[in-house]
């Protein structure tokens, strides 16, 4: 390669290419061209791929949300303006409860995961014997297939044969309905989410903790601060940016949770829609009832909720990082 004229020069002196014979000059010109445009040559394929698969479907969803499309996307549909949005926004039976459940699920799960995750991360912070095995245990829920995890919890929380009720029975607590109860189902699914995703928060927070400088903590110790004071006044403020990253990453996925809800409660989030979040609702409208117009309107609103909460968090992160 170094024997040849460096491509950069080959491009700036058009004559040199012609002297070098056709085959070499073509290759050289291409290489020079590729190197000059490598920025877009590298980035474009991925961006085009994602762009085609997102922009077009998203535009279509937006269009569908303004029509009365149902039954089959192929069937003729009429433009109805914002009617779907009005229908959805005035629907106190399915839509607003689904919004409430989505926010409850995400909010409660996030709080539990961050608090529990911080506690576990602090436990793991300083080296100890057997650390390796604890780290393996932490990875297991994280990589387990969510549908399989849902099935596993269905057995464990089964009101009649489940292990949880068996354990409660030993200490004299009457059996609970868990997933099959109208009031307990959502809480039980939140528990599953906490079980599966707290490890991820632990890993992120632990990475943050290990990258902290020791000095502020050491100085506070010298000044006689106790462990709680050092955590709340020194470590936690320093960790805030990492905590917000964890909330951001986990929050996006928690809002969109689908697998464990659909696997444990099936269509419509159970017979009373007790775990029907926006994602489950939109999926049901699209693929169980073929109400494409309505479901598209729900999805656009859902998307706005996600973007909105992400934007708020990013703002918060900027404020904290300053």
């Amino acid at each position: 390669m170094s024997v040849l004229t460096p491509p950069r020069n080959a491009r700036s002196q058009p004559g040199s290419g012609r002297n070098a014979g056709p085959a070499r000059s073509a290759g050289e010109n291409f290489s020079a061209w590729a190197n000059r445009h490598r920025k877009w040559l590298f980035a474009a394929p991925a961006m085009i791929f994602v762009g085609v698969l997102i922009v077009f479907p998203l535009a279509w969803t937006l269009y569908l949300s303004l029509t009365d499309s149902q039954g089959s996307v192929r069937a003729a549909s009429e433009f109805v303006g914002l009617e779907n949005y009005l229908t959805v926004l005035s629907d106190g039976e399915r839509f607003w409860p689904a919004v409430g459940r989505t926010l409850t699920f995400t909010g409660v799960a996030l709080v539990c995961e961050v608090v529990l995750g911080m506690c576990i991360a602090l436990l793991l912070w300083r080296p100890f014997r057997g650390e390796k095995w604890v780290r393996v245990a932490i990875l297991m829920p994280l990589v387990a297939t969510p549908v399989a995890v849902g099935m596993m919890w269905r057995l464990i929380f089964d009101p009649n044969i489940g292990f949880v009720n068996q354990l409660l029975g030993m200490v004299g607590i009457p059996p609970q309905p868990w997933l099959s109860g109208q009031d307990t189902a959502l809480g039980t699914t939140i528990f599953m989410d906490v079980w599966q995703w707290t490890p991820m928060v632990v890993l992120i927070l632990l990475a943050g903790l290990t990258s902290l400088s020791e000095e502020p903590d050491e100085a506070a110790r010298m000044d006689g601060a106790n462990a709680a004071q050092r955590f709340f006044l020194i470590t936690l403020p320093l960790m805030m940016p990492t905590v917000i990253v964890a909330i951001l990453l986990r929050g996006i996925d928690a809002l969109k949770t689908f697998d464990i809800l659909y696997a444990t409660k099936g269509k419509g989030g159970g017979s009373f829609h007790e775990v029907e979040t926006l994602n489950v609702y939109a999926y049901g409208l699209s693929f169980d009832y073929n109400q494409y117009g309505l479901s598209s309107a729900v999805l656009i609103l859902f998307f706005m909720i996600i973007i909105g909460s992400m934007w708020l968090l990013t703002m918060r992160k900027k404020a904290v990082s300053k």
Binding site: P6, A34, N35, R38, K39, L41, A43, A46, F49, V50, P57, L58, W60, T61, V73, L123, R126, P127, R129, V134, V136, A137, M140, P141, L142, V143, T145, P146, V147, A148, M151, M152, R154, L155, I156, N160, I161, F163, Q166, M200, L203, I204, A207, T210, S211, E214, T242, V245, I252, F258, D259, Y262, N279, Y283, S286, F287, I300, F302, F303, M310
Partner: protein
């Protein structure tokens, strides 16, 4: 005795993590704290592993034993559930499908994603990166309706191509995200000196940067494989009877009237075990992938 063994234990660990060295000699608290810490750690491990262990146990029980609360831990193990699931229900086909879709979508995403992440990192193309990362934020359902329409018109629904494309949609943003933070941390000087020595910029990328990025690429690839293997929603809509992946196959297991718990747990175990074995051997990569970009300001 304990003091001695403690010291020898911590010596290599403090070498790996230099910071806490002085603290170990002056331990955080008293014996009570240490006892609490051990108990809490055992509690955490039990909380995380016990449910999986329960699933594994149940997969070796007959359905009669599963209903018998007296036989929670002591029972005669049977391999019948596995034989049923693997042979009668054709799970070998589903295992192959899951593997093939995860493998091809990961490989293609790496081919597209690694150069893109490189360009986005080196030329700080933050806005372009945002376009790719948007894919992580959008609810999958909003894409499925248009996809389903287009692909069923092209007679592609039920084929591997559609599944692979849809899984790439999950893998690609993940790979770009992980590789960008990896390339950000790779020093520029090596590439620059390679270019001074006569390599073209692309040559420097191919011969210097790529070989240095093997561990980053492994991280991105492994995580992408796992996410694809676990993916449920896209396969639920886009797979046909011939391309059904494992998560969908498990879901189908419960659509019949009564649940065959033993078989269901065996099926659930069959899905999770391969991924856990992979995780066991690639721990370090998974951890670095999950925490990629988390500690930058």
């Amino acid at each position: 005795m304990t003091v001695l063994s403690k010291n020898t234990e911590t010596a290599p660990q403090t070498a790996a993590r230099p910071a806490p060295a002085p603290r170990r000699r002056k331990p955080l608290g008293t014996r009570a704290y240490k006892a609490f810490r051990v108990a809490a750690l055992i509690g955490v491990v039990l909380f995380l592993v016990a449910p999986l262990f329960w699933m594994l146990l149940a997969s070796f029980k007959t359905n009669v034993d599963i209903y018998d609360t007296g036989k929670s831990f002591f029972f005669t193990p049977t391999g019948e559930n596995y034989a049923n699931v693997l042979q009668r229900n054709n799970y070998f086909v589903f295992i192959f499908n899951s593997f093939w879709v995860a493998f091809v979508s990961t490989a293609l995403s790496l081919v597209l994603g690694v150069p893109a992440a490189y360009a986005m990192s080196r030329f700080t193309m933050h806005r372009s990166a945002l376009v790719v990362l948007m894919a992580r934020v959008i609810p999958g359902v909003s894409l499925l309706v248009p996809w389903y329409y287009v692909f069923s018109n092209l007679k592609m629904v039920g084929g591997f191509e559609v599944l692979i494309l849809s899984h790439m949609f999950v893998s690609l943003p993940l790979i770009v995200y992980i590789m960008m933070s990896y390339f950000d941390s790779l020093p520029l000087e090596l590439e620059e000196s390679a270019q001074v020595d006569g390599l073209t910029p692309i040559g420097a990328f191919r011969r210097i940067t790529l070989p240095l990025s093997v561990s980053g690429i492994a991280t991105a690839g492994i995580l992408s494989f796992i996410f694809s293997w676990n993916n449920f929603m896209f396969a639920l809509v886009l797979s046909g009877s011939k391309t059904k992946t494992l998560p969908v196959a498990i879901f189908d297991f419960v659509s019949y009237a009564s649940i065959d718990w033993g078989g269901l747990m065996a099926a659930a175990t069959v899905v999770t075990i391969p991924i856990m074995i992979i995780a066991l051997f690639t721990q370090k990569y998974i951890v670095s992938g999950m925490t990629a970009g988390a500690t930058k300001g």
